[in-house]
Protein backbone atom coordinates (compact mmCIF):
# COMPACT_ATOMS: atom_id res chain seq x y z
CA UNK A 1 0.00 0.00 0.00
CA UNK A 2 1.41 3.40 -0.94
CA UNK A 3 1.51 6.20 1.52
CA UNK A 4 1.00 9.73 0.29
CA UNK A 5 4.02 11.97 0.55
CA UNK A 6 2.01 14.90 1.86
CA UNK A 7 1.39 13.21 5.18
CA UNK A 8 3.61 14.66 7.84
CA UNK A 9 4.36 12.77 10.99
CA UNK A 10 4.06 14.32 14.43
CA UNK A 11 7.86 14.37 14.49
CA UNK A 12 7.79 16.73 11.51
CA UNK A 13 9.22 14.18 9.09
CA UNK A 14 7.17 13.19 6.07
CA UNK A 15 5.34 9.90 6.48
CA UNK A 16 7.09 8.28 3.55
CA UNK A 17 10.32 8.70 5.51
CA UNK A 18 9.13 5.66 7.42
CA UNK A 19 8.19 2.28 6.16
CA UNK A 20 4.87 0.93 7.33
CA UNK A 21 5.34 -0.92 10.59
CA UNK A 22 8.67 0.77 11.44
CA UNK A 23 8.95 2.89 14.52
CA UNK A 24 9.43 6.62 14.11
CA UNK A 25 11.98 8.52 16.23
CA UNK A 26 9.25 9.36 18.71
CA UNK A 27 8.52 5.68 19.30
CA UNK A 28 5.21 5.59 17.47
CA UNK A 29 4.60 3.25 14.57
CA UNK A 30 3.18 4.46 11.29
CA UNK A 31 0.62 2.19 9.68
CA UNK A 32 -1.70 2.56 6.74
CA UNK A 33 -5.25 1.61 7.70
CA UNK A 34 -8.20 0.59 5.59
CA UNK A 35 -11.28 1.50 7.53
CA UNK A 36 -14.70 0.91 5.98
CA UNK A 37 -13.42 1.84 2.57
CA UNK A 38 -11.70 4.99 3.79
CA UNK A 39 -7.97 5.44 3.27
CA UNK A 40 -6.68 6.33 6.67
CA UNK A 41 -3.21 6.61 8.08
CA UNK A 42 -2.52 6.18 11.73
CA UNK A 43 0.08 6.16 14.40
CA UNK A 44 -0.02 3.08 16.52
CA UNK A 45 0.21 4.36 20.03
CA UNK A 46 1.38 1.82 22.60
CA UNK A 47 -1.43 0.68 24.90
CA UNK A 48 -0.28 0.25 28.47
CA UNK A 49 -1.32 -3.06 29.96
CA UNK A 50 -3.38 -2.88 33.15
CA UNK A 51 -2.30 -4.26 36.54
CA UNK A 52 -3.27 -7.75 35.42
CA UNK A 53 -0.90 -7.48 32.50
CA UNK A 54 -3.83 -7.62 30.12
CA UNK A 55 -4.74 -4.91 27.65
CA UNK A 56 -7.73 -2.74 28.59
CA UNK A 57 -11.15 -4.25 28.00
CA UNK A 58 -12.85 -3.32 24.79
CA UNK A 59 -16.59 -3.12 24.30
CA UNK A 60 -17.92 -6.24 22.52
CA UNK A 61 -18.98 -4.09 19.58
CA UNK A 62 -15.53 -2.56 19.25
CA UNK A 63 -13.72 -2.76 15.93
CA UNK A 64 -10.73 -4.97 15.32
CA UNK A 65 -7.30 -4.12 16.75
CA UNK A 66 -6.16 -2.48 13.55
CA UNK A 67 -9.09 -0.13 13.18
CA UNK A 68 -8.71 0.90 16.83
CA UNK A 69 -5.49 2.67 15.91
CA UNK A 70 -5.82 6.41 16.18
CA UNK A 71 -6.42 7.96 12.80
CA UNK A 72 -3.76 10.39 11.67
CA UNK A 73 -4.64 11.31 8.12
CA UNK A 74 -7.92 10.77 6.39
CA UNK A 75 -9.87 11.51 3.27
CA UNK A 76 -12.29 14.06 4.61
CA UNK A 77 -15.25 13.00 2.47
CA UNK A 78 -15.12 9.42 3.73
CA UNK A 79 -14.75 10.54 7.33
CA UNK A 80 -17.72 12.81 6.82
CA UNK A 81 -19.84 9.99 5.40
CA UNK A 82 -18.98 7.69 8.29
CA UNK A 83 -19.70 10.45 10.79
CA UNK A 84 -23.05 11.26 9.21
CA UNK A 85 -24.05 7.59 9.44
CA UNK A 86 -23.38 7.65 13.18
CA UNK A 87 -25.23 10.95 13.57
CA UNK A 88 -28.24 9.62 11.66
CA UNK A 89 -28.27 6.52 13.84
CA UNK A 90 -28.40 8.81 16.87
CA UNK A 91 -31.24 10.89 15.45
CA UNK A 92 -33.16 7.70 14.66
CA UNK A 93 -32.91 6.38 18.20
CA UNK A 94 -33.21 9.74 19.97
CA UNK A 95 -36.97 9.56 20.65
CA UNK A 96 -36.58 6.12 22.14
CA UNK A 97 -33.66 7.26 24.28
CA UNK A 98 -35.70 10.16 25.62
CA UNK A 99 -37.99 7.57 27.17
CA UNK A 100 -35.13 6.00 29.12
CA UNK A 101 -34.19 7.63 32.40
CA UNK A 102 -30.66 6.28 32.01
CA UNK A 103 -29.97 8.44 28.99
CA UNK A 104 -32.18 11.52 29.53
CA UNK A 105 -30.07 14.68 29.59
CA UNK A 106 -26.87 12.72 29.08
CA UNK A 107 -24.41 12.45 26.22
CA UNK A 108 -24.24 9.20 24.30
CA UNK A 109 -21.46 8.01 22.01
CA UNK A 110 -22.61 6.24 18.86
CA UNK A 111 -20.32 3.91 16.97
CA UNK A 112 -21.40 1.51 14.25
CA UNK A 113 -25.00 2.54 14.90
CA UNK A 114 -24.90 1.50 18.57
CA UNK A 115 -24.48 3.26 21.87
CA UNK A 116 -21.00 2.35 23.04
CA UNK A 117 -20.84 4.63 26.09
CA UNK A 118 -22.64 7.51 27.79
CA UNK A 119 -21.87 10.18 30.38
CA UNK A 120 -23.00 13.48 31.84
CA UNK A 121 -19.79 15.19 30.75
CA UNK A 122 -19.22 15.39 26.99
CA UNK A 123 -15.50 16.06 27.24
CA UNK A 124 -14.89 13.09 29.52
CA UNK A 125 -16.99 10.89 27.26
CA UNK A 126 -14.99 11.94 24.20
CA UNK A 127 -11.70 11.25 25.95
CA UNK A 128 -12.95 7.84 27.03
CA UNK A 129 -14.30 6.65 23.67
CA UNK A 130 -11.26 7.83 21.71
CA UNK A 131 -9.03 6.07 24.22
CA UNK A 132 -11.11 2.92 23.93
CA UNK A 133 -11.84 2.78 20.20
CA UNK A 134 -9.20 5.03 18.67
CA UNK A 135 -9.57 8.33 16.87
CA UNK A 136 -12.33 7.27 14.51
CA UNK A 137 -15.72 8.77 13.56
CA UNK A 138 -17.88 8.47 16.66
CA UNK A 139 -20.92 10.71 17.10
CA UNK A 140 -21.50 12.23 20.50
CA UNK A 141 -24.99 13.61 20.96
CA UNK A 142 -27.05 14.87 23.87
CA UNK A 143 -30.31 13.13 24.64
CA UNK A 144 -32.55 16.17 24.93
CA UNK A 145 -35.88 17.10 23.40
CA UNK A 146 -34.73 20.21 21.59
CA UNK A 147 -31.16 20.99 20.75
CA UNK A 148 -29.92 24.29 22.13
CA UNK A 149 -29.03 26.79 19.39
CA UNK A 150 -25.80 28.62 20.17
CA UNK A 151 -25.33 32.27 19.31
CA UNK A 152 -22.37 33.45 17.28
CA UNK A 153 -23.60 36.98 17.36
CA UNK A 154 -20.72 39.19 16.36
CA UNK A 155 -21.28 41.00 13.08
CA UNK A 156 -18.14 41.68 11.09
CA UNK A 157 -17.33 43.75 8.05
CA UNK A 158 -17.09 41.78 4.87
Amino acid sequence: MNMPSDVNSPSGLPADHFEAGNASPNGKIFLPIQYKGARLFGWKIPITPGPTGLLPDVHPGAPSKLSRLPIFKSETSNISELFIKERDAFLKMKDELLGHETYQGKFVAIYEGNIVDFAENKKELAKRVYRKFGYIPIYIGKVEKEQVVGEMSSPERG
Binding site: P70, K73, T76, K122, G150, E151
Partner: protein
Amino acid sequence: MEKYDTSEQPPAPYVEVEVTNPQTGDSIKERGKIDTGAFRTAIPESWIDKLHLIPASQEETKGYKEEIKKQKHYTYFVNISIKNKVFEYAEVLAVKRNSPLIGRDILNQVKIVLDGKNLSFEVLDP
Protein backbone atom coordinates in the same frame (compact mmCIF):
# COMPACT_ATOMS: atom_id res chain seq x y z
CA MET B 1 -0.97 44.79 28.73
CA GLU B 2 -1.30 43.93 25.06
CA LYS B 3 -2.39 46.24 22.31
CA TYR B 4 -5.58 45.96 20.28
CA ASP B 5 -5.13 45.15 16.60
CA THR B 6 -5.67 48.46 14.86
CA SER B 7 -5.69 46.94 11.38
CA GLU B 8 -9.28 46.03 12.17
CA GLN B 9 -11.63 48.98 12.45
CA PRO B 10 -12.74 49.59 15.09
CA PRO B 11 -9.66 47.97 16.72
CA ALA B 12 -10.16 44.58 18.37
CA PRO B 13 -8.33 42.47 20.96
CA TYR B 14 -6.46 39.51 19.45
CA VAL B 15 -4.48 37.00 21.45
CA GLU B 16 -1.93 34.38 20.37
CA VAL B 17 -3.46 30.90 20.52
CA GLU B 18 -2.17 27.43 19.75
CA VAL B 19 -4.73 24.84 18.68
CA THR B 20 -3.60 21.22 18.92
CA ASN B 21 -5.16 17.93 17.94
CA PRO B 22 -4.81 16.01 21.22
CA GLN B 23 -4.68 12.71 19.32
CA THR B 24 -1.94 13.47 16.81
CA GLY B 25 -0.09 16.44 18.25
CA ASP B 26 -0.58 18.50 15.07
CA SER B 27 -0.86 22.14 15.98
CA ILE B 28 -1.33 25.62 14.54
CA LYS B 29 -0.40 28.93 16.12
CA GLU B 30 -2.42 31.98 15.13
CA ARG B 31 -3.91 35.11 16.61
CA GLY B 32 -7.51 34.68 17.69
CA LYS B 33 -10.07 37.38 18.28
CA ILE B 34 -11.55 37.69 21.75
CA ASP B 35 -15.27 37.46 21.08
CA THR B 36 -17.60 37.59 24.07
CA GLY B 37 -20.53 37.37 21.63
CA ALA B 38 -19.59 33.84 20.60
CA PHE B 39 -20.99 31.08 22.81
CA ARG B 40 -18.21 28.75 21.69
CA THR B 41 -14.69 29.02 20.31
CA ALA B 42 -14.44 28.60 16.56
CA ILE B 43 -11.55 27.66 14.30
CA PRO B 44 -11.20 28.15 10.53
CA GLU B 45 -12.59 25.28 8.46
CA SER B 46 -9.30 25.12 6.59
CA TRP B 47 -7.59 23.91 9.76
CA ILE B 48 -9.60 20.68 9.93
CA ASP B 49 -7.47 18.90 7.33
CA LYS B 50 -4.26 20.49 8.54
CA LEU B 51 -4.87 19.28 12.08
CA HIS B 52 -6.33 15.95 10.91
CA LEU B 53 -9.39 16.49 13.05
CA ILE B 54 -12.39 14.19 13.05
CA PRO B 55 -15.82 15.60 13.98
CA ALA B 56 -17.34 14.56 17.29
CA SER B 57 -20.70 16.25 17.21
CA GLN B 58 -22.86 18.79 15.46
CA GLU B 59 -24.30 22.05 16.73
CA GLU B 60 -26.70 24.61 15.43
CA THR B 61 -25.86 28.28 15.60
CA LYS B 62 -27.65 31.51 14.82
CA GLY B 63 -26.24 34.87 13.89
CA TYR B 64 -26.91 38.34 15.17
CA LYS B 65 -29.94 38.89 13.00
CA GLU B 66 -33.12 36.88 13.31
CA GLU B 67 -33.32 36.58 9.55
CA ILE B 68 -29.93 34.96 9.25
CA LYS B 69 -30.56 31.30 8.68
CA LYS B 70 -29.55 28.90 11.40
CA GLN B 71 -26.45 26.95 10.47
CA LYS B 72 -25.21 23.54 11.47
CA HIS B 73 -21.54 23.09 12.24
CA TYR B 74 -19.46 20.07 13.07
CA THR B 75 -17.62 20.29 16.37
CA TYR B 76 -14.16 18.96 17.22
CA PHE B 77 -12.20 18.37 20.39
CA VAL B 78 -8.89 20.24 20.53
CA ASN B 79 -6.43 21.52 23.08
CA ILE B 80 -6.25 25.31 23.14
CA SER B 81 -3.28 27.07 24.59
CA ILE B 82 -3.47 30.76 25.54
CA LYS B 83 -0.80 32.48 27.57
CA ASN B 84 0.71 29.17 28.67
CA LYS B 85 -2.67 27.99 29.96
CA VAL B 86 -3.94 24.87 28.22
CA PHE B 87 -7.65 24.22 27.87
CA GLU B 88 -7.78 20.49 27.23
CA TYR B 89 -10.42 18.89 25.06
CA ALA B 90 -12.17 22.15 24.28
CA GLU B 91 -15.04 21.58 21.88
CA VAL B 92 -14.79 23.99 18.96
CA LEU B 93 -16.82 24.80 15.87
CA ALA B 94 -15.37 24.97 12.38
CA VAL B 95 -16.42 28.13 10.56
CA LYS B 96 -15.61 30.01 7.37
CA ARG B 97 -13.00 32.41 8.70
CA ASN B 98 -9.27 32.93 8.43
CA SER B 99 -8.54 33.18 12.14
CA PRO B 100 -10.02 31.69 15.33
CA LEU B 101 -12.65 33.31 17.52
CA ILE B 102 -12.12 32.83 21.23
CA GLY B 103 -15.60 32.37 22.65
CA ARG B 104 -17.14 32.40 26.11
CA ASP B 105 -16.42 28.71 26.70
CA ILE B 106 -12.75 29.71 27.08
CA LEU B 107 -13.11 33.34 28.11
CA ASN B 108 -15.24 32.43 31.11
CA GLN B 109 -12.33 30.48 32.54
CA VAL B 110 -9.97 33.44 32.67
CA LYS B 111 -9.98 37.06 33.78
CA ILE B 112 -9.87 39.59 30.97
CA VAL B 113 -9.35 43.30 31.36
CA LEU B 114 -10.34 45.31 28.31
CA ASP B 115 -9.07 48.87 28.39
CA GLY B 116 -10.80 50.15 25.29
CA LYS B 117 -9.87 53.75 26.00
CA ASN B 118 -6.20 52.91 25.71
CA LEU B 119 -6.73 50.14 23.14
CA SER B 120 -5.03 47.61 25.38
CA PHE B 121 -6.07 44.44 27.17
CA GLU B 122 -4.83 41.77 29.52
CA VAL B 123 -5.67 38.08 29.86
CA LEU B 124 -5.11 36.81 33.39
CA ASP B 125 -5.58 33.47 35.01
CA PRO B 126 -7.23 34.46 38.29
